[in-house]
Symmetry: C2
Subunit: 115 residues, 2 copies
DNA sequence: ATAGATATATCGGACGCCCAACATTTTTAT
DNA sequence: ATAAAAATGTTGGGCGTCCGATATATCTAT
């Protein structure tokens, strides 16, 4: 089902190079709860293009089915929040991400990354 | 089997989160020329597991077919080097990568990323 | 109340990445 | 000379991401 990769626990299923969208969603939700279109807009700022519904909603559904996020319906919105499991998964994913790409980003210079 | 890559001109599918392997290969080759198994080993250090032949060789073939890298056969090795086009593609990819993920890595703290 | 905007959701097809397994060629060791 | 090791390469299947198209439900104008 998931591609099993790397040396990470099997339940942390976002740690190959294909899981960047899910990783980004978890990270954004660790900042604040959002509904689907808010997430799409935030991702759009980073990527340079807002992902289509066919991209974002299946990803949310998948994360929810794995218990990493939870939805709470509010009118026409489904507001997602990070679960405790999602937070743990994010921590491990960040460690992997940092090891894999940290020096690549660092060489660009933290000054160019400064807010 | 292995179609388009991360060329990343704006009209094409800029902002794709699927091109991380090719991106990593280009970045490694910008440091020094390497042959396939050297690349696989370097990627393994970052990811935590050495990619299989079925992962690395098709990726190299695809990058070469797009003119982003070039092979020079040396005995039993095929040594790859970055082309001028590959260098330009890498520059654009790095800009995208930094915008998409810079702040995520920054919050972990550059000290934890220091060599 | 009707129309428009907003948000959610699914489908089909494509692509990039991933592995395990198998196969071939070249170098090195015995 | 023969075997082992190293490097390259292919095949087959699966999965996550991506888009465009389509559909439905809910708020917000008018």
């Amino acid at each position: 089902m998931n591609g099993e990769v790397l040396d990470l626990p099997k339940e942390v299923h976002l740690c190959d190079m294909r899981g960047m969208l899910s990783f980004t969603i978890l990270w954004l939700l660790s900042k604040r709860s959002m509904y689907g279109q808010e997430l799409a807009t935030e991702i759009g700022k980073r990527r340079g293009g807002k992902p289509n519904p066919g991209t974002i909603y299946p990803a949310l559904k998948d994360l929810a089915s794995h218990g990493l996020i939870e939805a709470r319906v509010e009118g026409r919105n489904s507001v997602y929040r990070l679960t405790k499991e999602g937070a743990m998964s994010l921590t491990k994913s960040k460690e992997y991400f940092e090891r894999a790409f940290g020096d690549i980003l660092l060489e660009s210079g933290p000054k160019s990354m400064a807010k």
